[in-house]
């Protein structure tokens, strides 16, 4: 329906002026859609116009100087722009939030100055003129009229819409959202923040390169003004006012904010002032974007039907456990220093297969530091960490999770904004076998994999007793339910070893009982569990062995019964005997 309207527009009396505006809206859509993709991971690129300009100048200069057909220079420009995006990404994607924003602003400024001052290449402020119009291979097939360019833009914008919809609606989109929402948890679920933000960066820069190349041959004249901050502001406005993170957000935003300034021409001198005021009002009163509020008014899209609530609990694959003998996890003489203080001092630890080992000790004993070292969040100053007999010291967290060593966090164990089911689905990431192109094309294999993961996620929710809350955003769950959801998230990547950081913190007695039953059952499936816990009932009631830390040093190790009588342990707990009383 919409497609017919779009295709018919040039024939129903829409004149060249409006066609031009529609073409420009499409152009800005390509730019805004790319910006939106990176913003899905929480990274706002306020230098995006630099990539637009780089694409435009690359295609324009190639066509002017080498005489190659624009049909070829445009893809070359897109690839080159993507490459520049890759280089900038290598440099800046480790930065977060405001730092990334400001560095990208600066990058665009540098490029603008280069375009202005490198007279020999760009002809500076005079601009680059005489760029050939677009053609389809030979000059006989040159695009002349607005209508021609309009249809070319329809194809490009449609492709962009499909591409971004596929990316955002797939595991890539979930991973990007997870990185924005809780980067540590994403990494410990096997999602590489760097490679996903890099993917978004490259795709968004390629789109900007395409938009730039199109612009060069459509307008046939380029000037350094392309790199102006005003252009980036326009794109950012389209994304945020349209609805960031949503597929249709940038599309609606680019249409509205191409036409609004045109209508404001009537206001003559007051045009930009009014534009600013409208912008401010939109940001203040519609911070989630037009699409969000439109959807709310129209009653919202139907929620996805819940996957069949299978009672299947076989969430552990044979593959996860099919590893050789020996220790599941071992720390060898690991030391971590903060300044002069050793938080963990020559600590060795051994976790057998199918074993539940508890790490206890007073606050500041080094338990959390030990967890951080094992899972790759904290480098060790000395010593090794071995998992399944392989050295994993110094690997990034997502690599460690990929191998099947997964952790549950103490405080931030969920992705708050996402529904419970999506929380678990996101963490199934490392199980995906399909390639990026299969995902973009939505092949049969991809659809089946996605369905399988959805079932697995629902199964895990059932397992922890949250089967009925699949659609509930995680932040609406009670504290105890969030812990259980955290457990389901930790199980989703199919781990063989589970690290639980104070799983019972904040749980009441009934919930703790339930948690203990679940951990027992998890071990029953053959998983090994290492946990840090203050709840002595849980520690003494279900662990095979207990290790006691104090000031980063192991002071005792043994069965719960032995630990309760150990004189040093009692002294470490201030001799209060609380450890006995609790148990």
């Amino acid at each position: 329906m919409i497609l017919v309207v779009v295709l018919a527009l040039p024939f129903v009396g829409v004149d060249d002026y409006y066609l031009h505006l529609l073409i420009m809206a499409g152009l800005f859509y390509l730019l805004a859609a790319g910006m939106n993709l990176l913003l899905a991971a929480g990274q706002l690129n306020l230098g995006h116009t630099a990539f637009f300009g780089i694409g435009a100048y690359t295609s324009g200069l190639l066509a002017v100087h080498s005489g190659i057909s624009p049909l070829l220079t445009l893809p070359m420009a897109a690839v080159f722009t993507g490459f520049i995006g890759y280089l900038l990404g290598r440099l800046t994607l480790k930065l977060r939030g405001a730092y990334f924003v400001l560095v990208t602003v600066g990058f665009a400024e540098v490029i603008r100055l280069v375009a202005t001052n490198w007279m020999d290449l760009t002809q500076g402020p005079m601009g680059l003129a005489g760029i050939p119009p677009f053609n389809l291979g030979t000059e006989r097939w040159t695009l002349v009229s607005k209508r021609d360019y309009y249809y070319l833009m329809v194809v490009m914008a449609g492709g962009t819409l499909l591409l971004t919809a596929r990316l955002l609606g797939s595991r890539v989109g979930r991973a990007l959202a997870a990185i924005q929402s809780n980067e540590s948890l994403a990494e410990s679920s096997g999602i590489s923040a760097y490679s996903h933000t890099m993917l978004a960066m490259i795709v968004s820069c390629v789109l900007a390169g395409v938009a730039g190349g199109f612009y060069a041959h459509y307008i046939t004249f380029l000037s350094p003004e392309l790199f102006g901050f005003q252009n980036t502001v326009t794109m950012a406005v389209m994304v945020v006012a349209g609805g960031q993170g949503m597929v249709l957000g940038p599309a609606v935003g680019s249409l509205v904010f191409t036409f609004v300034p045109e209508f404001l021409r009537m206001a003559a001198f007051y045009r930009m002032l009014l534009y600013g005021i409208i912008l401010l009002l939109v940001v203040m009163y519609m911070p989630r974007g037009l699409v969000y509020y439109l959807r709310a008014i129209l009653g919202g899209g139907a929620p996805e039907p819940a996957a069949a609530a299978t009672a299947d609990r076989s969430f552990v694959s044979e593959a996860a456990l099919a590893s050789g003998g020996g220790a599941a996890l071992a720390m060898r003489e690991v030391t971590v220093r903060f300044g002069g203080l050793a938080a963990v001092d020559g600590l060795s630890l051994h976790l057998g297969r199918g074993e539940i080992l508890a790490l206890i000790g007073p606050n500041g004993a080094g338990k959390s530091t030990a967890f951080n070292v094992i899972t790759g969040f904290q480098p060790a100053d000395a010593g090794r960490v071995e998992f399944d007999g392989a050295d994993i010291t110094g690997l990034p967290p997502y690599r460690i999770a990929e191998r099947g060593l997964v952790r549950m966090f103490q405080r931030t164990s969920v992705f708050p904004e996402a529904p419970a089911l999506d929380n678990v689905l996101t963490a199934c990431h490392r199980l995906a076998r399909t390639r990026l192109w299969e995902l973009v094309l939505t092949t049969q294999a991809y659809r089946e994999e996605e369905r399988g993961h959805r079932e697995r996620a629902q199964g895990l929710l059932n397992f922890v007793g949250l089967g009925g809350k699949a659609g509930e955003p995680a932040k609406n769950l009670s504290c105890g339910e969030q812990r259980l959801l955290g457990l389901a998230i930790a199980l989703a990547p199919d781990p063989s070893v589970l690290l639980l950081d104070e799983p019972a913190a904040g749980l009441n007695a009934v919930e703790t009982e339930q948690l203990m039953r679940l951990i027992e059952e998890i071990r029953g499936h053959g998983l090994s569990v290492l946990l840090v816990e203050h709840d002595m009932k849980l520690v003494m009631g279900m662990c095979d062995r207990v290790m006691v830390l104090n000031y980063g040093v192991k002071i005792a190790e043994g069965t719960p019964a032995e630990i309760q009588r150990h004189p040093e342990v009692i002294r470490a707990y201030l001799g209060s005997g609380e450890i006995l009383a609790d148990a």
Binding site: V105, N117, M272, I277, L280, Q378
Partner: protein, 291 residues
């Protein structure tokens, strides 16, 4: 040779003082409120235009006009916080950021309507003759600008370290919730911080406006440079903003003198890119461990 070098450095330090003032304002606002203020350049511009209006158009005494201009920008900043940013406090970082972008569009275009876009000079009260110290010649207005910048930097430092509101600002900077629990009026701190940061930008604009030109778009480049300053020094880092500002001023002056004046304005960002190659987490960046 040496005389020329010293001359460049002195010129750079004076401009750098202005950058440092802007940077301090920006870094305080970010450190305490988590807002990247894209209207910072417009506060800078307003400082210059208020001075131009009060002194050049209305004939108010130069020094009184300077003080009034800075205070005026501070009041505008406080009002902006109260009416706009306060409502956006619980939103993701890009929302208040875009609000300040919108604000900068509004202020700049209002300035065009009020004062027209043509550049103006402030015919200040200082002798046009340079002060000469050995081989170095500095026009007296520049000496004045440099001294005032130093005084304002020291004054800001004392305000933050020694006064009651300064203590409340430091508390809010460290932990907003704890500060609130300890009885700090966080709303007041935010309003004061934004007004104070804006006033510093206004002071910088008044000083540099008196030295150079005054026009509505003068804040664009100044804002970009203050961004460079705070990235170099670390967002939220007071000392870093001073060091970053002076460093940028001097390297621009040297770059313009010895390399190319066309690329002068890119130097700050090239420095940042080199810095990132050397320290990807930024000069003062720290990794935060998860729990």
């Amino acid at each position: 040779m040496i005389a020329e070098l010293v001359q460049h450095i002195v010129n750079g330090l004076i401009v750098g003082g202005g950058y440092a003032l802007m940077g301090i304002g920006l870094t305080l606002i970010f450190g305490i409120m988590r807002v990247v203020n894209f209207a910072h350049g417009e506060f800078f511009m307003m400082g210059a235009f208020f001075l131009f209006t009060l002194f050049s158009l209305w004939g108010v005494n130069f020094f009184a006009a300077s003080v009034l201009s800075v205070l005026g920008v501070g009041v505008v900043g406080a009002v902006v916080e109260r009416l706009i940013l306060r409502r956006l406090r619980e939103t993701p970082i890009e929302i208040p950021m875009l609000a300040t972008v919108a604000l900068s569009v509004i202020i700049q275009n209002a300035a065009i309507l009020i004062w027209d876009p043509s550049p103006k000079t402030i015919k200040h009260v200082f002798s046009p003759l340079p002060l000469t110290l050995g081989p170095v010649h500095v026009v007296s207005i520049r000496v004045f600008a440099g001294l005032v910048a130093v005084a304002l930097i020291v004054g800001s430092h004392l305000l933050i370290q020694k006064t009651r509101i300064g203590r409340a600002m430091r508390a809010t900077f460290q932990d907003t919730d704890m500060a609130r629990l300890a009885g700090v009026d966080v709303d007041k701190v935010y309003m004061f911080t934004f007004g104070f940061g804006a006033a510093l930008a206004g002071a910088s604009g008044a000083l540099l406006g008196a030295v150079f030109w005054v026009y509505p778009a003068m804040g664009d480049l100044a804002a970009l440079k203050s961004f460079a300053v705070v990235i170099m020094g670390g967002l939220g880092n007071f000392l870093g903003a001073i060091v970053g500002g002076l460093l940028l001023g001097v390297s621009e002056s040297l770059g313009a003198g010895y390399i190319s004046s066309g690329y002068k304005d890119a130097i700050g960002f090239v420095l940042i890119i080199l810095l990132l190659l050397w320290r990807p987490q930024g000069l003062f960046g720290k990794k935060v461990l998860p729990r």
